[in-house]
């Protein structure tokens, strides 16, 4: 369906927008234009990549509601790109953790994943993103048919785990994680509400 639509400039724009956080990271890591990762660069990289992944994940979840509200297909066309960038930043987040934070010490990595529930659920969320990223091609969409949609509903538990992971690692100030939780509740609540409405309508049609 996407091939029949004319290509607008918004796709490259979204693509560039998704690359901006990475460009900032690289600039700060190499000290370009007096940017810096601060006194604890590993911690900064870890938080920044994680937060960017989470932001993009929630942004991805905004696309379907925006499509329904506006009736425009453009939202759906950038949804896949946003989702793939969300996955990429989350993967980067994991790599920073394993390579820079834990120095690729495999006994440390294993121990931390098992011992710290917030690390465990973060990893579970990342692993659940993997099949979604792998089946994001047009070909996979066609060959999976209705099962594709069922599979990609995994994004709901993924988002819940991601926000939970964020909430759990905060030291004292839970205001921001709660804000993310509220946004997620809104996004998932909207879908639930729509789903119920549709069921209700179908039910009434059957009665007639």
């Amino acid at each position: 369906m996407s091939t029949t639509l004319p290509a607008y400039g918004y796709e490259p724009a979204v693509w560039l927008g998704c690359l901006l956080p990475l460009l900032w990271l690289l600039a700060a890591a190499f000290g370009v234009a007096e940017l810096t990762l601060g006194a604890n660069p590993v911690r900064e990289l870890l938080h920044f990549t994680g937060k960017t992944g989470l932001n993009l994940l929630l942004l991805t979840l905004c696309m379907t509601p925006l499509h329904h509200l506006t009736g425009r297909l453009e939202w759906l066309r950038v949804r896949r790109m946003l989702g793939l960038f969300a996955f990429s930043y989350t993967l980067l987040h994991f790599m920073v953790y394993v390579v820079l934070e834990l120095d690729l010490d495999f006994s440390d990595i294993g121990r931390e994943i098992i011992k710290r529930p917030f690390i465990t659920i973060g990893l579970v969320a990342l692993l659940m993103m993997l099949p979604l990223a792998l089946t994001s091609t047009d070909r996979a969409m066609r060959s999976l048919g209705r099962r594709w949609q069922a599979l990609h509903r995994l994004i709901y538990p993924i988002a819940i785990l991601a926000v939970w992971h964020y909430y759990w690692q905060v030291k004292a100030d839970i205001r921001e994680p709660l804000l993310y939780a509220a946004a997620l509740t809104l996004l998932l609540g909207w879908r639930l509400h729509r789903h119920r409405l549709r069921q209700h309508r179908q039910h009434r049609q059957h009665q007639r």
Binding site: N40, E112, K115, Q169
Partner: protein, 326 residues
């Protein structure tokens, strides 16, 4: 508190005989030095550490002697590393908030209220507290509970020497410290992240230990606001949150003080909070630490028991289960 483990100090140890007879002279000295302001106001123009004096001008740099005996030989962190990456929730939650949001804070004039189980009580000007002790520079390791660390050249005076002047009684088993509460000057206090004001505490024998330092400066300068100006504690064998900043109250107590982080999350932050690689924080390991200022690809270094000060302080905790009393 008889059930407090390892409480070893005898009442007679707290007020020595000589000090007892010195009492009068101490009180007289405190009274006399009240009129002593900052003698040396200078128009210093170095780019760091300029502290406004109560009147006009800028305080001249502190005079101090280096104390090599109590200093470590690790490479010292830079001024920027020490003054731009801070946990000081009174000025915000991000690490760069304290440096950015404390610039307007006026740390002079300053006084400290001393009370509780002590013979000498009252409100004392900071200058009076400092006047009788030579400032020492001590290079200490600093280990944050968040598993990062750095090496800092503090300027201060031994906490015990100051506390003794207030003549704690035999009932003084703990010392409680309180940070300034003033949401107008400390914007972070407008949010309810912690129960303000910030409170910390030590057992009296910990407080009297020669390593415990009452700090007023860093890098040969008076303390910048973001590091806890004008008066803070440094207890180098404990996690950083024990080293309370901007102290306005010192109270000698019979009971263990209710300390801020311990109250906020008792399963995560103990009252003792001794640096211990064998006891993890529930959400992260304390076995290693990241040195501030190390390169992006540098490995973490091993955390040492009591932050490397085990020879000096381990005896304070003899017979205590450090896993239980973390």
């Amino acid at each position: 508190m008889k059930d407090q483990p390892g409480y070893r100090i005898l009442p007679s140890e707290i007020t020595s005989e000589s000090l007892f007879f010195e009492r009068r002279s101490v009180i007289q000295a405190l009274a006399a030095s009240a009129s002593l302001g900052f003698a040396g106001l200078a128009e210093a123009n170095s780019e760091r550490g300029n502290i406004a004096a109560p009147g006009k001008g800028v305080l001249s740099d502190p005079k101090f002697v280096k104390n090599a005996r109590f200093s470590v030989s690790d490479p010292v962190n830079s001024w920027d590393e020490i003054t731009t990456y801070n946990n000081f929730y009174e000025f915000g939650l991000n690490k760069d908030d304290p440096a950015r949001r404390s610039q307007q804070f006026q740390a002079r004039p300053w006084s400290v209220e001393v009370g509780g189980e002590a013979a000498v009580r009252g409100r004392f000007d900071l200058e009076d507290i400092l006047a009788r002790h030579p400032l020492e520079e001590r290079i200490y390791r600093f280990r944050c509970v968040e598993a990062w660390s750095r090496v800092v050249p503090w300027l201060g005076i031994p906490l015990g020497d100051v506390l003794k002047r207030f003549e704690p009684t035999s009932r003084a088993k703990f010392v409680e410290f309180t940070t300034l509460y003033d949401p107008k000057r400390m914007p972070g206090q407008r949010s309810g992240v912690l129960n303000w004001p910030y409170v910390e505490g030590l057992r009296i024998d910990e407080a009297m230990h020669p390593l415990a330092l009452l700090v007023v400066g860093v890098y040969g300068k008076w303390l910048p606001n973001q590091n806890g100006a004008p008066l803070r504690l440094i207890v180098p064998w404990k996690y950083g949150f024990k080293s309370i900043k901007s102290i306005v109250r010192i109270r000698f107590t019979e009971r263990q003080p209710q300390t801020s982080w311990n109250k906020a999350a008792p399963d995560e932050y103990g009252f003792f909070a001794n640096v211990n690689p064998a006891v993890d924080h529930p959400r992260w390991s304390q076995a290693k630490e990241r040195r501030i200022g190390a390169s992006l690809f540098a490995s973490r270094v091993d955390t040492l028991p009591f932050n490397g000060y085990a020879n000096e302080v381990a005896s304070l905790y003899r017979g205590i289960d450090l896993r239980r009393y973390f």
